[in-house]
Symmetry: D2
Subunit: 416 residues, 4 copies
Amino acid sequence: MVSQMPARRLGVAIVGLGGAVATTAAAGLEMIRRGAVDLSGLPLAESTQAGLAPYQNIALAGWDLYPDDLASACRQHGVLAPAELDLVRTELESVRPWPAIGNVKFCRNVAGREGANLTSMRDQIDSLKDDLKRFKADSGVDSLVVVHLASTERLVDITLPQFATPEAFEMALDANDDEIGPAMLYAYAAITSGIPYGNFTPSVSADIPALKELARRNGVPIAGKDGKTGQTLVKTVIAPALRGRALHVDGWYSTNILGNRDGLALDDPSSLASKLDTKGSVLDSILGYKVENHKVFIHYYPPRGDDKEAWDNIDFTGFLGHRMQMKINFLCKDSILAAPLVIEIARCLDLAKQRGHGGVLEELGVFFKAPQMTNGAEPEHAWPEQERQFRDWLDNGTGRAEKSLKAAAASLADVG
Amino acid sequence: MVSQMPARRLGVAIVGLGGAVATTAAAGLEMIRRGAVDLSGLPLAESTQAGLAPYQNIALAGWDLYPDDLASACRQHGVLAPAELDLVRTELESVRPWPAIGNVKFCRNVAGREGANLTSMRDQIDSLKDDLKRFKADSGVDSLVVVHLASTERLVDITLPQFATPEAFEMALDANDDEIGPAMLYAYAAITSGIPYGNFTPSVSADIPALKELARRNGVPIAGKDGKTGQTLVKTVIAPALRGRALHVDGWYSTNILGNRDGLALDDPSSLASKLDTKGSVLDSILGYKVENHKVFIHYYPPRGDDKEAWDNIDFTGFLGHRMQMKINFLCKDSILAAPLVIEIARCLDLAKQRGHGGVLEELGVFFKAPQMTNGAEPEHAWPEQERQFRDWLDNGTGRAEKSLKAAAASLADVG
Amino acid sequence: MVSQMPARRLGVAIVGLGGAVATTAAAGLEMIRRGAVDLSGLPLAESTQAGLAPYQNIALAGWDLYPDDLASACRQHGVLAPAELDLVRTELESVRPWPAIGNVKFCRNVAGREGANLTSMRDQIDSLKDDLKRFKADSGVDSLVVVHLASTERLVDITLPQFATPEAFEMALDANDDEIGPAMLYAYAAITSGIPYGNFTPSVSADIPALKELARRNGVPIAGKDGKTGQTLVKTVIAPALRGRALHVDGWYSTNILGNRDGLALDDPSSLASKLDTKGSVLDSILGYKVENHKVFIHYYPPRGDDKEAWDNIDFTGFLGHRMQMKINFLCKDSILAAPLVIEIARCLDLAKQRGHGGVLEELGVFFKAPQMTNGAEPEHAWPEQERQFRDWLDNGTGRAEKSLKAAAASLADVG
Amino acid sequence: MVSQMPARRLGVAIVGLGGAVATTAAAGLEMIRRGAVDLSGLPLAESTQAGLAPYQNIALAGWDLYPDDLASACRQHGVLAPAELDLVRTELESVRPWPAIGNVKFCRNVAGREGANLTSMRDQIDSLKDDLKRFKADSGVDSLVVVHLASTERLVDITLPQFATPEAFEMALDANDDEIGPAMLYAYAAITSGIPYGNFTPSVSADIPALKELARRNGVPIAGKDGKTGQTLVKTVIAPALRGRALHVDGWYSTNILGNRDGLALDDPSSLASKLDTKGSVLDSILGYKVENHKVFIHYYPPRGDDKEAWDNIDFTGFLGHRMQMKINFLCKDSILAAPLVIEIARCLDLAKQRGHGGVLEELGVFFKAPQMTNGAEPEHAWPEQERQFRDWLDNGTGRAEKSLKAAAASLADVG
């Protein structure tokens, strides 16, 4: 007689738990638990891969600058209709975020209480690690993952010397270095706790060399950055086909209007710079040449709330130099697209941990606008190839990284 | 010392030589020969695969119901500006189509002279084969390919018994069977002359079982059908991404407006039926479920001439049942998109012939709305997978067909 | 000392009371009565014109083929969210339509019970008149108006001799003439009861000469037809500006997707013909020339329910023959746009009655796709001029009709 | 026997003669003279109003910072196809602009030679007046008009004391006041020469009180400012209809992409400020309330050259608070829309001069984004009302100004 393995239980600690994406994820998981909705929009709903925690077994908790309980926060974002929220109100009311560590130097437009009176970075990190330990103990889950969803921080230069190695970074932490933003502290707390870390925002976080190396040493999978949900997803779907048909892109004008707290944060030019940075290089990478007139704009437009709209205009040249245009108007819902990806990223990071992976999990690139790479390699941006690599990794544990190893082995063999 | 192979010379005989696509291809090849344009829009421009005839070495000829020389035909279609046409007017003026075999029972809206006074199908076929022999001899090319570009014929039932085997089809030819359309006669003439045959139209042609089998027996590569240039291309690019993200398509409304001779032909409901037939099943195949509200319309709209416009509206459902929309407006140029594909299909069929392939070349599916398959298998419609299979075949001579063989071999081995 | 007039109370009897537009109007009026909503979308909300019945004082009743109470009908249409409907559920539940007189020969796709067992048209008319009398008595309103909102009937030839005069029509009624559709019977019942009648549908109704004359003789204002809510409204707003700038329209392609019961009815080609007939001539009339390529399509597309989407593409030529395009994508809500117009039409017809107007009230043309005219004159279609005439009539009791009279008087004087 | 009046001959001196709009106008007038084109796009082509100079009798000349002849300038802008330009090349080659007076403090992005070595404003003005005198004498026209088409200058505060009265302005001129931009100098030169002046740009020019008063005193008609050609035209056409239907605008997002010299100039934020200033207030004025989320963006996007594209998204609320959207995509040609308006404005200003009008000609408001008013009154922005006032003025010499006078007279009478 075969004894059945008890299903895996996963705790996800979210930075920015009171935000639109996180509260949508929280409400959604509760609705799934109650059988009130089907699994639409969850890319791995049909996967039978062992090691993925069932959706019903995922517990959410996390930090926020705002102290509101999740029902109250969820109501404010207006993503869910009142009738939907009512289904899970009791459960959401019982969850309150832990105090977050904010830093107005890194994200201005979204104010909130400063996280406790923690005067040093080391104190802040200790506090975060305590939160994680307590979460694990209280919830009784088998394992944890941290996912970053907080508002975009200002752009940081990742080539600074204090970010180059774990040792340099430790010293910078000791010195409360002004260049270290909150997103790095969360990543550091997770990695040094042995907990996988995913960065769904454009903020500079575990993508500094110091933290990537630390993750590798500690055997902790990390992934990022900046969730690929709307316009950039479409861009990386369309551009490969233009390349396949040898249609030369002369210009690509992209504009976004959105009205949620994210949009407000991006109304601060320094946060916007981070965002545009991750959006910018995608096209050139896929097409193999510099698109002279690639323009990307994001505008705060309150009438839509969480509903987001992207308008793209593509000018391209075909046979005999003749010119054509394509226009794409995407009326999407930001949090509805993002929340299921956050859930899947957490499940995959947990799976990678079980598989013994440490360092950047490049095969999750399909979920990100600026896929993190182990070293300075250029990431794959084309969605079709990303999807193939991801599904290969999911099903077989092989993907890009393994392929690189094999290629390296093969070339060694050739030399031999 | 290595002697250099002289570059391959290829003759392409086109059914519908006076049409917008063919005259654009003819003018384009002349412009390329003169160095007047670059190779934009030609998907294999960067391929270094040996065996592909250089663009400069391709000679075009073919049949048409209208007797006008190519310069005159090209001018009427209005695809090229007068100044562009002027560059190659002399060359195009020197080419006149051979008389085509038409049949008003199969294509009503586009009138033309009936091809000579050929009273039997056998006489018509002999005449076509003579044309091909003369073309080869006169042009001095190394090999020929036939590509079908004529206006869409009425829908035919390919399961009729007279289409089931080469033998049945031969008997039907002898009997001048009314169900045999001109497009089948061209295909038969090519295949029995040992000449590869590509069908860029939705007409029923070499996709009847009899002709597929005949091509296999004769070692002649064939491919089709219905060039994937505009809206369907976009559809097969977008739909896989929606599937990848588990976004459920509730409805997909597609409408096309076009004003060229093709549009006029499609204004005849029986020709339109053929077209919609090839467009229809694409979506369900990619998504893996029946899209209840997939609507496709084509409307003749003269103001645009050859400029074609597609408007797509996609309704889909994401996480927690929330609904979103995407709208795509494609302002394309029909012949500018199609002509380079015709050229590449001809080059690939010629390459396949050199590689010894006989029967349906499934790996060209990326170029077609309704990819022909050897047997009744469901074709791959998702552009990303089609592109991958095509590039594999091009570079390595392996792709879908070979994979199937290997899979078959493997399962045999398992059994063993 | 002046005694204050008690506010006017108006009863509106609607043909098609259970439909999406009527139930939206009914729910809306209840919500206004309770102060649950503001007066958005009601064009005369700011008018202080005496004689207009206050919104709070309007009672709705009417006929339908389906017997469901209004709350139940409203729920089925899905125009209002459940939470909105809940506000007025009790009131709507208390209203049930009177049995309608249907005729499958005139409207096929929307089935329903045949109205009672009324074998002759005279019996049917008597029954309708009894309904109206009972409504007036029971509700205690000061006056009644009938508005037609039922599904579109098949196209009828209004030049038939039996429609030419009141006398001919009476005889045709006696003979139960097959060419007389239900919409004419409702109009006849209203007019002969001295009750103003508005036709918000494309069906042929009070626009036959016989009924226009009868309305004039009886001193009953009538107006119609086919509410101008979405795409045609936009068309009549944009076209005058194109004319004003001398931009020549080469083609105007309009397509609509909608998924409510109206859309289903229009899926029957004979009903669609009525609709396209009223939509067609608008452009030529405004522009002053025949637009060769004016195409209008309506497609039933269930995913949207009552949400309607129109897509227009306009091709036009400007200075030196250069061509430009405009595309308009209107994501509207059919019943939300229509319901307030129905309310205002009813109020205006009641005002006209008080002002002593009999026959066609041409000044309401701004609300209709095919404005009814007293005699065979070409109606004004340009929205700016319609709006001006309507506001003049509303404020001063003068408008188009009076202007025509003055012009006639002036030319008489000239002659003199 | 009646002797026929010889047809009026009009000279138009353009500021920015080498620009895209002016060269298009120049080429167009030549093409009209030769009968090579019809009168499409000219709003007054069908007017029979006496006093309007025939298109054939209009001579163009003017100033520019670039010395190129008009054929060469026209070629650079790429508005006309080479074949079109060829028709009038000889005539355009014979016209060279007079040296313009530029000022880098007022318009940065478009460099050019500084106009001669004119060290004082008085010298510059004298030079401009000499140019006008010479033009009149050499061309033999009956009268002149000046139209300003040069690139947008930086925003200027029109409430400065030196702009308040003719006397203050004269003193500021003497002092070479830094706040006086080139556009004011051109206006001053025209007005003090008795020549009507139109401002088709957003630059501050004759709209300062000093110059309006000077024009009134000198009996010179002036009009402006900022030609209403594309997106703003559409906005002022659509918004009145939304108001008419009581649809409340919650947000209106407008973005423009254009790639000509104008677009480059607007890439300088200080020039852009002038432009957005004239675009901004239009909506609130028409709708009668403050639109909280009216956003207007202009982006330089070179792939399009002179082809301009506007995308508008309108969010609005209707009955019962339900929300709808409209999206308008205008693919227009900037100079093709603007050039005929410039020609008509010149003809109308000349007509006004003949009619004895002095000061602001308010009835030309239909042609401008920011219609100039005599005093501080709020201009009419709604296109339908503007068009009506303009046509009244054209046909009857009465319009807005006359109506104001009558209203004033009437209220005096009432008082009396």
